[in-house]
């Protein structure tokens, strides 16, 4: 690259006429980053200059200023919310430190919480809590909803109170999702949507609502309804300049595609997202995506690729310390070993995984792993051990108070195994039935103190 640059006028002459004097201007511009940038900027400018709208538009718009009263309102509201949140902060921490049975009455009589800032803080606290304690998060979110209805008479802009009510309802729906109460969550989202439309109907609120609705539909196995909503949400996140959420929503769409049997489509979509997710340092989504890629390759019986992605996911999940995800990745690795013919090693890993799920209270998932163990033992010709695993399964399901259909299915297998008539097809059939039993956080017990 040359250190000599042409002056602006020479470059402009070249850009506008295509004629250059001296003759090597084009060559220089093509190889010089600085002059290339000048060309790019000039071309954008020249295109705008040639746009008739530039010359015709009412120029008053260009020099209009925001009204001082509006700026003043934003200023005042901003500082008011700030102060209200600060007031509510300590109050919420104190109340949440007490038994959850006391929360509702204490929140109801706490003046600092009867403000927009207070309710917002309460919603944020519920959100922080939902991942590890959805029952308590539900109490906080429903309290926030109740407090919203008391804000109507206080002097806030009407749209703010309506938007806040929508947000509180949305948070309740999120907690319901974690509790496995998908249909109830969907009903609340309808109410939330109505609130948002009474409020500002902002793109951000409606998009977050779309995302939650898509998640609930996904978990409720209503995949064909979920996919278009995921796509709409992804598009909106992109418009809002939120590439992180755009990628997260697309990753969820890939999971939905996989559920409909489009394994290769799901893989292609996840692979197209991995670099972007890594670039955002969104480790949660990256770890989940890598684990899902492993699972998808496992479904294609591509054990090499499956193992590769499971190992990457395992590494990340260990760093993140998210136990349920970590256990699922270990399960994937165990299945990969079985797939590659390393049955003894696979069996040992499956046994470890079953115990882990059981200890975490994820009984139906643990049951699925035990079914795989029994099926593998059958293939290995270890009939007596199959009987033992099946009877263990029945006892475990009974002890955990699982659905009657699950217990019946397990008992049926135990009987067939005892009589020596159990087949691989029977395992498949029972597995399908068990997969319908929600295994997510239903079993989590509420925190009482």
């Amino acid at each position: 690259m040359s250190d000599i640059h042409y002056d602006d006028e020479t470059l402009i002459e070249f850009f506008t006429t295509g004629v250059s004097e001296p003759a090597d201007v084009q060559e220089h511009v093509n190889s010089c980053r600085q002059c290339g940038a000048f060309r790019s900027s000039f071309e954008t400018f020249a295109v705008a200059l040639a746009d008739p709208a530039v010359w015709q538009t009412n120029t008053e718009v260009l020099f209009a200023l925001p009204k001082e009263a509006k700026l003043q309102e934003v200023r005042e509201l901003a500082s008011r919310f700030d102060a209200e949140e600060a007031d509510a902060d300590g109050e919420i921490s104190t109340i949440v430190g007490r038994p959850s049975s006391e929360w509702r009455s204490r929140f109801a009589s706490s003046a600092p919480l009867h403000t927009v800032g207070g309710v917002r803080k309460l919603i944020a606290t519920a959100h922080e809590m939902v991942d590890h304690n959805p029952t308590d998060a539900m109490i906080l979110a429903s309290t926030a909803t109740a407090l919203c209805s008391k804000l109507q008479g206080i002097c806030y802009p009407q749209t703010i109170a309506a938007d806040l009510m929508g947000t509180a309802l949305k948070e309740q729906a999120t907690a319901l999702r974690y509790l496995g109460r998908y249909e109830e969550g969907l009903v609340l989202l309808k109410e939330a949507e109505a609130c948002f439309y009474r409020g500002s109907a902002s793109l951000a609120d409606l998009t977050d609502l779309d995302f939650q609705r898509a998640c609930l539909l996904f978990y409720a196995e209503r995949i064909p309804e979920a996919i278009p909503i995921m796509r709409r949400a992804a598009l909106a996140y992109r418009q809002l300049g939120d590439s992180k959420r755009f990628q997260q929503t697309r990753a969820l769409e890939a999971a939905a595609a996989l559920k409909t049997g489009e394994v290769r489509g799901a893989i292609a979509l996840w692979l197209s997202l991995v670099d972007g997710i890594a670039l955002e340092s969104d480790l949660d989504t990256l770890a989940t995506t890598l684990g899902n890629l492993g699972q998808a390759y496992l479904m294609l019986a591509d054990f090499e690729e499956a193992g590769k992605y499971f190992h990457q996911a395992l590494q990340l999940q260990k760093e993140l310390g998210l136990q349920p995800h970590l256990m699922r990745v270990r399960w994937g690795l165990a299945r990969t070993l079985v797939g590659t013919g390393e049955w003894e090693a696979g069996l040992a890993r499956l046994r470890e995984t079953a115990v882990e799920f059981e200890q975490a209270g994820m009984f139906s998932t643990s049951g699925l792993v035990k079914l795989e163990i029994a099926e593998l033992l059958l293939a290995m010709g270890k009939g007596p051990e199959v009987v033992a695993v099946c009877s263990d399964l029945v006892q475990q399901f009974r002890a955990a108070g699982m659905a009657t259909s699950a217990i019946t299915a397990a008992a049926y297998l135990q009987e067939a195994a005892s009589s020596g008539h159990v087949t691989a097809a029977m395992f498949k059939s029972v597995r399908e039935r068990l997969e319908d039993v929600p295994s997510l956080p239903k079993s989590r017990s509420p925190k009482t103190s």
Binding site: L62, G241, Q248
Partner: protein
């Protein structure tokens, strides 16, 4: 066994940077007003109210906003479309306008922002230069026609166009730098 994605996107901490909201209000007011009133044909007074609503909503979301410009542009476009589609509106706007102005064309905000900058620079440009560029770029005159209009030689007209372009481009860069 497919793991789903659990992000919920609600704010996990109180919104911060309130002091930025006013700055952003002033900075993007023209762009948002232009989009709403020129692109979506929302009457100016109503467009100003929509912008205000967007900023009130921004107060609730500021902690999650990653790209304020894109967020505000996306939000005002959505609010403008919602304005026309809202119940109880007696006026109407053709679907074609809404479609054409759909911000899903990612370059829309950039195009409009550039156009606003160019309009602003024309305001700052010397009257003679503005007239010269108008002849050349709006009326589509050749250098000879510009020369005839300005009662000068074609060679001088060419030189004048280049000088005006250079000056205009410099102001454009200055304005762009200030708006970043």
């Amino acid at each position: 066994m497919i793991a789903a994605y659990h992000q919920n996107f609600a704010p996990t901490e109180p919104p911060k940077g309130y002091e930025r909201v006013e700055e952003l209000y002033r900075l993007f007011f023209n762009l948002m007003l232009y989009l709403s009133s020129q692109r979506f044909k929302v009457p100016e007074t109503d467009a100003e109210s929509l912008i205000h609503e967007v900023f009130l909503s921004f107060l609730a979301h500021s902690s999650e906003v990653r790209d304020p410009r894109a967020w505000l542009v996306g939000s005002i476009c959505h609010a403008s479309r919602h304005y026309w589609r809202g119940n109880g509106r007696t006026e109407s706007i053709s679907d074609e306008v809404l479609k054409r102005a759909d911000p899903s064309a990612p370059e829309l905000a950039d195009t409009v922002a550039t156009r606003i900058l160019v309009q602003e620079l024309l305001f700052h440009l010397h009257e003679k230069c503005r007239h010269t560029l108008r002849l050349k770029y709006f009326e589509g005159c050749s250098a000879i026609e510009v020369a005839r209009e300005l009662e000068t030689t074609p060679r001088y007209a060419e030189k004048l166009i280049r000088k005006c372009l250079k000056r205009a481009h410099q102001i454009y860069l200055d304005l762009k730098g200030n708006k970043r």
